[in-house]
């Protein structure tokens, strides 16, 4: 295919360097500097897709972020990306592009849809139909869903990685057009740390397509110089291809930098995209403005384009998207498009100007070229199928609300329209600033600043180039000053440009037709979602009055362009239908993303194995080497069980549990939280936090405690040891460690600042090896010769400092298995050494490493609870049969005490911890089973409790379970039932929660 519309090199393209790409499988050529859109237009591609609802043919209308139609699937396979706007895709060798909506087959009668079916689909039609018969809705929906979506998500994992930078700067400039560039230059010269970002591939904004002369130079040359100047500053970061997508509180701006997409989607150069998380002291918004299209009948036919886009394609890319241009405008500025088109050597059929008497300098220039200007006229309808063939032009009344003359048909294949400009108020709106209607510019200006920001240039409603320079420069200097740099005075002369005299524009939001809006051919407002002027009027007729209701009823602005093209027209049409002003009607809310932002980039590096930190103990590598299976407990990886060759989990756990009770086992308990507590008030403080008292705990002694929240419910538990006078060590659960630490600090710092006590987390400092079982002492004795381990001198609930395998250790004689146990704590850099020494010492006793699963079984055999498994935030110590741990007579009303006396806490029939013994001992009740007293009832059943922990106990030779049952403590011996999902019911007897060694004799191995 020949590039029929290629004029040669544009200001930013090089026609000597060709680039091959495919579009819907067809090979095409573009040139260096092209976007996909300019290359498609160069090749004469009219149709780029079909509309969402009515499947109407659509062509490219814009040249940037505002493009609603040219939505493409780029690339294939794992690297594919859906929904890129062709206007924002830089061409690269081998690019594959495909339109996202079913490509029309030749025989497909496109207009039929808009004719009749289209009329059956006014806004809100879903809500009015598909209701009967009710059961068919899911079928209807199935078909509705088939039509859903634009492009397709990849189905393979993303091969790319993404990156983030936390940036801090004094002045952030968003947009590198004339306003932004001058702002950045002034701020940089003042010495501020400056970041300037622009969404486009190169800096320059509108200057990239400008024919202006600046400081005596062609705009693009002047541009190259200032960009080079900026890059020369050490304190400036220039970020092209970088979109500020969201403006958040306290001057936090998210910027997405596309680093390699322009090289090819599979180009591997490190991170594909980078998210800059910018905290700026001051922000200058110089994001430009969007040209507003004119809304006339069938304004969606391919070949209807934005006037500024036509100029951009001609000047910047060297592409003329058609032959015979008809320009339709309400303002002087767009006349430039006629001049550009004429200079490109193509025909300007006519300029249709809605104003009665346009006389500005550009108008004069156009007339001088011999181009016909039809003042006081409007294009009321475009005609054509897949491409504009002609325009229907008619005389309008002065207000532009009525057709008052005959309709003439003017042949053309390109209609450029300009209804004026709308400042890009998006980012300022993100901050909560409400855009303000300003009739003098026929547009919404950014509202009052809510943050340290200002909008300059076209973004603030200033449209002259000189004005943009002036505003940009002074905003840059001012922002720098407010950030602490310079004195607000300008360092550079404002660039010299020619002033062009312009006449006021006309406000025209809906071009009248000879037929009423409801009967005229569709006049599209939002092209992506097929929202038309008649749809908006219909919604108003149906009683919807709020602009937000209109948005939601018609879907206006919901698309991937977020209404950049159509919203202002839509709001004005709404205002008119409601008979109120545009100011009263207001806008919908602009929110991030300014343009869509890649999920992966927002996720950054924190994906896959780095999704969350994995915390390891000092012995972790040993566990890995032994082939342990791991369990996630919070961020920790804990060995779950250590299967031997060919063992099932149950076999491994049985073996581990038996080993502990018959000889000795070893557990890595390093993950338990440990808090060092020092200070004269330490005992008092600890006593306030636990339900029992620590005032009399002597050095060398340990005590088990339960901590409640103020609501009286169990929050954490663990042992607390007195290390020395005024010095304690508190153990917490693995998962509760951070929460307990914050809890202690909260009370100490905010409620009792006078108590003298300090807390320090020592969780990571200590590596803990628990050896447990009747032979535990013998093992320890082999590697420890400075402790008297005899039962009398080192008693249960004592701790001692000694040397274990050469390392200075704290040894705690506490037990979670009911067996003789020593928890050996050594500084973690000796952790693995000591562990291996214990393994070696234990070899003769067949010492067995066990994991959390066996630990759970062993403690359940003893009826010890696990907070978070046997409790769920609604359990008191009494519920857990642990009244013994509550000291009600302490002087200070410990945390949670008062709540234990509330009526619900003392209610009978609370769920209480019990043991369950299945009638068939081989049967293990699934954890989480619900308990009923009467198995014969109908559903809904009256549930009386549930199973919290349940195991097969190899030591007992039968299954055991812990459960909480209503009134359970007085129901020992009763039979309860667990109805399972598979229809079976397991019967079990309520027994004591202590299954093994109820007298606690096994502790006392001599």
């Amino acid at each position: 295919m020949k590039a029929v519309n290629r004029l040669g090199s544009g200001a930013r393209t090089d026609s000597a360097k060709t680039i091959n790409f495919t579009y819907n499988g067809k090979p095409l050529q573009g040139v260096a500097g092209d976007t996909l859109a300019s290359a498609l237009l160069a090749n004469g591609v009219n149709l780029v897709g079909r509309s969402f609802k009515y499947s109407r043919p659509r062509g490219i209308v814009g040249h940037g972020a505002e493009e609603p139609n040219a939505i493409m699937q780029i690339g294939s396979g794992a690297g594919t990306v859906p929904n890129l706007k062709a206007t924002q895709v830089e061409l690269y060798e081998g690019l594959e592009a495909a339109s996202v909506n079913g490509w029309p087959s030749v025989n497909f009668d496109l207009m039929a849809i808009t004719g009749w079916f289209g009329r059956l689909m006014p806004p809100g039609f879903y809500y009015k139909t598909f209701m009967y018969p009710a059961k068919l809705w899911m079928t209807y929906e199935h078909f509705i869903r088939k039509a859903a979506g634009l492009g397709s998500s990849p189905v393979q994992n993303d091969p790319d990685s993404y990156d983030k930078l936390n940036q801090h700067c004094d002045v952030l400039v968003i947009g590198a057009g004339p306003a932004g560039l001058t702002a950045a230059r002034e701020a940089a010269r003042a010495g501020a740390r400056v970041i300037i970002a622009d969404e486009q591939s190169e800096f320059g904004g509108s200057l990239l397509a400008s024919t202006d002369i600046i400081d005596g130079l062609p705009a693009t040359e002047w541009l190259d110089a200032i960009v080079a100047e900026l890059q020369g500053f050490a304190n400036v970061q220039t970020l092209p291809r970088s979109t500020a997508f969201g403006y958040y509180d306290h001057n936090f701006v998210g910027i997405l930098e596309r680093r390699s997409d322009h090289l090819g989607l599979t180009a591997k150069t490190g991170a594909r995209q980078r998210l800059h998380r910018v905290r700026a002291k001051q922000v200058v918004l110089a994001a430009g403005a969007f040209e507003r299209p004119l809304v006339f009948a069938h304004n969606d036919i391919p070949g209807v384009m934005q006037a500024s886009s036509v100029s951009t394609y001609v000047n910047r890319y060297g592409v003329a998207p058609g032959n015979d241009l008809l320009l339709f405008t309400t303002n002087d500025n767009a006349y430039q498009t006629a001049i550009d088109w004429h200079n490109a050597g193509r025909t300007v059929v006519a300029v249709v100007d809605s104003r009665l008497n346009p006389t500005g300098e550009r108008v004069a220039a156009v007339t001088a070229l011999g181009i016909q200007v039809m003042a006081g006229h409007g294009v009321i309808e475009a005609q054509g199928g897949k491409r504009v063939k002609r325009a229907l032009v008619a005389q309008l009344n002065a207000e532009g609300t009525q057709v008052i003359g005959p309709v003439t048909k003017i042949a053309c294949d390109l209609i450029a329209s300009s209804g004026g400009w709308s400042p890009a108020v998006h980012l300022s709106s993100h901050t909560g600033a409400k855009p303000q209607w300003d009739a003098s510019i026929v547009g919404f200006r950014p509202g009052k600043s809510q943050q340290q920001e200002r909008s300059v240039g076209a973004c603030g409603g200033t449209y002259t180039l000189r004005g943009c320079f002036e505003e940009g420069a002074s905003a840059g200097a001012q922002a720098a000053m407010l950030a602490g740099f310079g004195d607000d005075s300008l360092m550079f002369p404002v660039p010299e440009v020619l002033d062009i005299q312009e006449q006021p524009q006309q406000a025209l939001f809906l071009v009248p037709h000879t037929k009423s809006t409801s009967r005229a051919p569709s006049q599209f407002v939002d092209l992506q979602l097929d929202v038309s002027a008649s749809g908006i009027e219909l919604a108003v007729r149906e009683g919807l009055e709020s602009v937000e209701h209109i948005k939601r009823y018609t879907a206006m602005g919901f698309g991937t362009d977020q209404g950049k093209l159509g919203n202002i027209n839509g709001m004005a049409i709404l205002a008119n239908a409601l008979g109120q002003s545009i100011a009263e009607t207001g806008t919908t809310i602009f929110r991030p993303s300014y343009t869509p932002t890649t999920f992966g980039a927002i996720a950054g590096r924190d994906v896959g194995e780095l999704f969350d930190a994995e915390r390891y103990t000092a012995v972790h590598r040993w566990h890995v080497e032994q082939g342990a299976m791991f369990e996630d407990v919070g961020q920790w990886k804990r060995p779950w069980y250590f299967p031997k060759q060919g063992e099932t989990m149950q076999e491994a756990v049985d073996r581990e549990c038996l080993a502990v009770r018959s000889s000795v086992g070893i557990l890595d308990a390093s993950t338990l939280g440990k808090i060092d507590i020092q200070g004269p008030d330490a005992a008092e403080f600890i006593t306030r936090m636990y339900t029992n008292s620590y005032l009399k705990l002597a050095p060398g002694k340990c005590r088990y405690g339960v901590m409640l929240k103020e609501d009286g419910m169990i929050f954490d538990d663990g042992v607390c040891a007195c290390l020395a006078e005024n010095h304690y060590l508190m153990f917490t659960t693995t998962g509760g460690a951070a929460a307990v630490m914050a809890w202690l600090e909260l009370w100490k710092q905010t409620e009792w600042p006078d108590l003298q006590v300090y807390f320090t987390s020592v969780t990571d400092h200590w590596s803990t090896a628990t050896i447990t079982g009747p032979n535990a002492r013998k093992v320890l004795a082999k590697v420890c010769d400075d402790l008297d381990l005899s039962a009398d001198s080192f008693q249960f609930m004592d701790w001692r400092e000694g040397t274990v395998a050469g390392a200075k250790a704290r040894v705690f004689r506490i037990s979670f298995t009911g067996e003789l146990s020593y928890e050996i704590n050594v500084p973690a850099h000796y952790g693995r050494h000591v562990w291996e020494a214990l393994m070696e010492a234990g070899e003769e006793f067949d010492i067995t490493a066990y994991g959390t699963e066996s630990m759970h079984v062993l403690r359940a055999e003893k009826g010890f609870i696990i907070v978070g498994q046997d409790t769920d935030g609604s359990m008191t110590p009494a519920d857990m049969n642990m009244d013994w741990v509550v000291n009600k007579n302490k002087a200070f009303s410990f945390i949670g005490k008062r709540s234990l006396e509330r009526s619900d806490s003392v209610r009978e029939n609370r769920k209480q911890l019990v043991g369950l013994k299945t009638l068939d001992g081989a049967e293990v009740i699934p954890e989480g089973s619900q308990i009923v007293f009467d198995s014969k009832q109908q559903i809904p059943m009256s549930m009386q409790g549930h199973v919290t922990s349940s195991y097969y106990s190899a030591n007992m030779g039968h299954s055991i379970a812990l459960a909480v049952v209503k009134g359970g403590h007085s129901r020992l011996g009763q039979t309860v039932y667990c109805p399972l999902a598979n229809g079976r019911t397991i019967a079990a007897e309520i027994v004591s929660s202590v299954f093994y060694d109820p007298q606690g004799e096994r502790q006392h191995v001599e």
């Binding site: 990306v81 859906p82 009329r119 006014p122 809500y127 009015k128 139909t129 598909f130 209701m131 009710a134 809705w137 929906e141 509705i144 869903r145 859903a148 979506g149 998500s153 189905v155 994992n157 993303d158 790319d160 993404y162 969201g246 936090f252 219909l538 007729r541 149906e542 009683g543 939601r552 009823y553 879907a555 991937t560 929110r591 991030p592 993303s593 999920f599 992966g600 927002i602 996720a603 950054g604 924190d606 994906v607 896959g608 407990v633 609501d711 769920d872 935030g873 609604s874 709540s899 509330r902 619900d904 989480g928 089973s929 619900q930 809904p940 059943m941 549930m943 549930h946 919290t948 999902a981």
Partner: protein, 416 residues
Amino acid sequence: MKRYSGFSLFKNALSYHENWQKIWRSPKPKSDYDVIVVGGGGHGLATAYYLAKVHGITNVAVIEKGYLGGGNTARNTTIIRSNYLWDEAAQLYELSLKLWEGLSQELNYNVMFSQRGVLNLGHNLQDMRDIERRVNANRLNGIDGEVVTPERVKEIAPLINISRDCRYPILGASWQPRGGTARHDAVAWGYARGADALGVDLIQETEVTGIRRKNGAVVGVETTQGFIGARKVACVTAGNSGVVAAMAGLRLPVESRPLQALVSEPVKPCLDTVVMSNAVHGYISQSDKGDLVIGAGVDGYNGYGQRGSFHVIEHTLQAICELFPAFSRVRMNRQWGGVVDTCPDACPIISKTSVDGLYFNCGWGTGGFKATPGSGYVFADTVANDRPHPLAAAFNIDRFNTGALIDEHGAAGVAH
């Protein structure tokens, strides 16, 4: 009220849609009502509808400070399910689910309730215990649900990652087939249209600024349009409940927090169910338009800003990329926030108050959309009869004094 149907659509198309009736009137407020419902979200509108429909109380106004359904009703990720843990909550949400099942027909307005099923994923052993416990409770309460394996999860949501060697592998899930989503706006509009047709006045763009009392009893509300009298005032103002309660000198056990959500650009159907994960913290479904609707977390701090902190969005998308690595190249089109009224036990308050004639329905926090029909139903009954509906009794505000909380943090997840 003219009924909607395929036929009415056809007929109106013939006349270029020029003759549709108004969905609701925009009346001037009367001086006096039997009941004023403060708050025109889904719950408030449903309350008004059932007051009129079930209890014949039609001299009712709904007063809404913005546009109808513009609060959290407009901002939620529309997940509907009833698989709550405790009996009290499960029964309330199940009543709701049953009402959802006939709601489009009841209202003659298609709320697009789509029973595409809801998966709640488990990523560690305790998650799985909790899931077992909840599903068992649901079954015995007559609520559908089952525990499914990772392989079954993959069948239901083919793009999900069930590999065992990711950071938080999926160990299983609960699956409630009757759960799903609905079109949130349509719910508000359907109830509004229904209530309006029964005579309820819907007063928009009018803020209640005070609650006038006499001898300890309510006599009406001050509004930005002046005083409006009422015998009973029923407040259903979600995130603003604390502010409204303060007008009557009351405090509530609720805190208002920003909760965020986001949508991707529309993509072709690739996720036909709702997937939620508490542990990695994200939840996702795909709308009928094709956008992925993703719920993010609650911000750490109180706020009335309808916007939140960006790091919450970052975390959510990390979770989504963890669950669905293929979505990493999909793009975020829009994000927003709502102000949710969080209760200490993650359960609502549906209650009379210490002020005669003043009622509150709030505290739905991150999960009240699914309850809209049931909440309106039991609240209307409570207001009409001045005593708690049996299913609302447990949700009395007194529970914060007695301690009889209904801790649904597990089943409520952190947010949905």
